[in-house]
């Protein structure tokens, strides 16, 4: 036999890999025969077929003549939208509650504690449905819409925001504006004569705003016609309920991460800062939080990933995200159970891997600063 232990371990690993591949292959071939036995055929050709149903909320255009492939894109964007909104809101709320938790004020401290314990210890799905029904119960019918200054309408069908209709050549201006916006942080750091440009870069967003407003042909205000409000962009209550449910739940966990990370910053740091005469705000934002951030990032990543995955709970409140629309409606209409589930899993895997790659990069970026 092989004498060298290292070589033995090497061979062992290869054998293990071969076994894993063999089992995987066996499972796939078994899947094929089982599907064939039930007269089902494995394949992704159905993605080009016409869908034929309507999607209530979408970010890009949709007609019933579009393909299942476009359903995937539409629902993916919906998932990404609610996840992104959730991540931002959960971070801000979590940070706030986490800091409140360490307040010297008894009331503030215990409100934060009660919030965390209540939210962490009830099921997330129940919370989302609660928000949905709570939102629905409090809002008036379309005919009694609440008028908000600026042409906004609020009713049980959602919040209606005036819509800017772009001119034909507006698309180019929009792209330019986006580019200018994206360039702003780089320009900020641009060294001119050895000094950073800094706040002068803020002129760029103003230019972008000017470009955007130049591309607008007219503004469409929402108004009541027939059953519903027409015109304007609708923010449906389903999105708001899911957003609230996702971000509040994640915020409770993030708050605890924030608290523990702040407490993990050595006491001497605060004492030193105080002895230098820093005020409590400066102490928090200049000394403690930057150091706590480094410890938070890896833990935050897993909370964010959880939040993204939990967006599938939107199916319960009729939010057309990828799980409901693609692994629900499409799965049934196209009769492709295995394929749709594989696609949805692959999509979530991709989103989460990309996101965690980004967070890891960010982690390395902040961790570089020597303690």
């Amino acid at each position: 036999m092989v004498r060298r232990p290292s070589r033995r371990a090497y061979i062992g690993q290869w054998v293990f890999l071969a076994v894993v591949i063999a089992i995987g292959g066996l499972m796939i071939s078994e899947l094929g025969t089982n599907l064939a036995r039930r007269n089902l055929h494995f394949g992704f050709g159905f993605l080009v077929n016409q869908a034929g149903f309507d999607i209530p909320f979408r970010l890009i255009s949709w007609s019933i003549f579009d393909s299942y492939g476009r359903v995937l894109l539409v629902s993916l964007l919906n998932t990404v939208l609610v996840s992104a909104m959730g991540v931002v809101a959960a971070t801000l709320l979590g940070l706030l509650v986490g800091i409140m938790r360490l307040s010297v004020n008894w009331l503030v401290r215990n409100i934060a504690l009660a919030f965390i314990e209540f939210v962490r210890n009830t099921p997330q799905l129940v919370q989302i449905i609660f928000w949905y029904l709570a939102v629905l119960q409090t809002l008036p019918s379309p005919r009694q819409s609440i008028v908000i200054p600026g042409g906004l309408l609020l009713n049980i069908r959602g919040l209606y925001v005036p819509d800017a209709i772009m001119r034909a050549d507006g698309a180019l201006l929009t792209w330019l504006a986006c580019f200018v916006l994206a360039a702003t942080p780089f320009v900020w750091h641009l060294p001119i004569y050895g000094r950073r440009l800094g706040a002068k870069a803020l002129a760029l967003p103003l230019i972008a705003a000017a470009m955007l407003s130049a591309g607008i042909e007219r503004v469409e205000f929402p108004a009541l016609t027939g059953f519903n409000i027409t015109g304007g962009t609708q923010v449906p209550p389903e999105l708001v309920a899911l957003w609230a449910g996702l971000s509040i739940y994640a915020a409770a966990f993030i708050a605890e991460i924030v608290r523990s990370s702040i407490q993990a910053v050595p006491q001497g740091q605060s004492e030193a800062a105080r002895s230098l005469g820093l005020r409590s705000g400066q102490l928090l934002f200049l000394i403690v939080l930057p150091q706590a951030l480094r410890m938070m990032v890896p833990q935050l990543t897993s909370q964010y990933l959880n939040l993204i995955k939990s967006s599938t709970l939107g199916a319960a409140v009729a939010y057309p995200e990828i799980f409901q629309l693609f692994a629900g409606t499409v799965m049934n209409q196209a009769n492709k159970e295995v394929e749709t589930i594989i696609i949805v899993m692959a999509v979530f895997l991709t989103i989460n891997l990309l996101f965690s790659a980004f967070m890891n990069w960010y982690n390395r970026h902040v961790a570089l600063v020597e303690r």
Binding site: N39, F53, L136, R157, A316, G328, T329, E337
Partner: protein, 346 residues
């Protein structure tokens, strides 16, 4: 050594093969159905039903399953096992119902499911019997002042996802050049709540289910069901393909429930009729002078037991859809202007 083992194995295999062959030839005249055998061996029917919809399948206050679909599960159980209570109910959502059947987790799916071409072909499922003829209907708030489905332009309607309904609405809108917005829900409870709260202008489903939905509203009188059916939704049972005899049995259980009504035999009078009747058709149906049960793979008392323990079709319809104020319409017997008919018992 190896040779001897090989020889021995071959011998064994041959003997086993001959025994198997003999067994097969002996059973030639019997009904061969893997599902039927499995049900008998298990002593219990596993029936896939709706998760909860008044009329078809729902759990009452004591947690007991009730409904027209449930009556069919019970009828199959009593035909095969002699006891209508030997059923395990598996609540299935519209999303997973067919996968559950295909995977063999349930013996039969009786879940207010529309019989369609693709389910019959692409999904590889076999149609059992249609126990409820209906069409997709709309329920809207009376206060909206809508009288016809075509007036729903611009309205938002709550729908259950994963059903034929979504496509029907889109097609209906296209055909009539109107736009009906939909809101897709996974489960009826949330959809009802959203409709109740006014998030949608109405709710759509199969005629029977819409009547059921109306009965769950806080004030059912506030809602009207629009007169049009925008599609045919003929709901019935499904079995797996490749088990023809099981499918035949499921179908004839349905005919038995109808035949009972045709002959005027009810739960209450079945014993009396069985003891007194001279009518050859009735005697054949109740198994007094026929072998119909044997042909189906059950005993000859099966139809008697169905009527005795479950009742005929009309009785069950009255129990479950009477309270919903849903007229029988298409579901009347053929000799009463309806579409329900049993094939002849010959």
């Amino acid at each position: 050594m190896l040779r001897q083992i090989l020889k021995l194995t071959t011998c064994c295999a041959m003997v086993a093969g001959m025994v198997g062959f003999a067994g097969a030839s002996r059973a030639q005249n019997e009904v061969k159905s893997a599902t039927l055998d499995a049900v008998k061996k298990r002593g219990q029917l596993v029936c896939g039903v709706d998760t909860g919809i008044p009329g078809f399948a729902f759990q009452d206050a004591s947690g007991k399953w009730q409904g027209l679909d449930i009556a069919y599960c019970r009828a199959i159980a009593t035909a095969v096992l002699g006891d209508a209570d030997k059923v395990k109910y598996v609540g299935t959502t519209s999303k997973v119902r067919f996968s559950v059947l295909q995977s063999g987790e349930i013996d039969v799916l009786i879940r207010d499911s529309t019989h369609t071409l693709t389910r019959n072909t692409e999904l590889g499922l076999a149609h059992g019997a249609i126990n409820f003829f209906t069409g997709e209907a709309f329920m809207v708030k009376k206060s909206l002042g809508v009288a016809h489905a075509k007036e729903l332009n611009g309205a938002t309607i709550c729908v259950l996802t994963g059903t034929t309904l979504e496509l029907n609405i889109a097609d209906f809108g296209r055909a009539n050049n109107i736009k009906i917005n939909t809101l897709l829900f996974e489960k009826p409870e949330e959809a009802f709540a959203a409709a109740e709260a006014g998030r949608c202008d109405g709710y759509t489903d199969d005629g029977g289910s819409v009547a059921a939905a109306r009965s769950t509203m806080k004030n059912p009188k506030d809602w009207i069901i629009l007169p049009e059916a925008i599609s045919r939704e003929f709901l019935g049972s499904y079995t797996r393909q490749g088990d023809e005899r099981w499918n035949i049995l499921v179908r004839w259980v349905h005919y038995a429930m109808l035949e009972g009504e045709v002959l005027g035999i009810t739960k209450a009078n079945v014993d009396k009729i069985k003891a007194e009747t001279k009518d050859p058709e009735t005697r054949g149906f109740l198994g007094l002078e026929s072998n119909f049960g044997k042909f189906l793979g059950v005993d000859n008392d099966w139809a008697y037991r169905i009527i005795k323990q479950v009742g005929n079709y009309g009785e069950n319809y009255e129990i479950y859809f009477g309270p919903l104020e849903l007229p029988r319409g298409w579901n009347n017997l053929y000799n009463n202007g309806g579409l329900q008919y049993p094939l002849p018992w010959r």
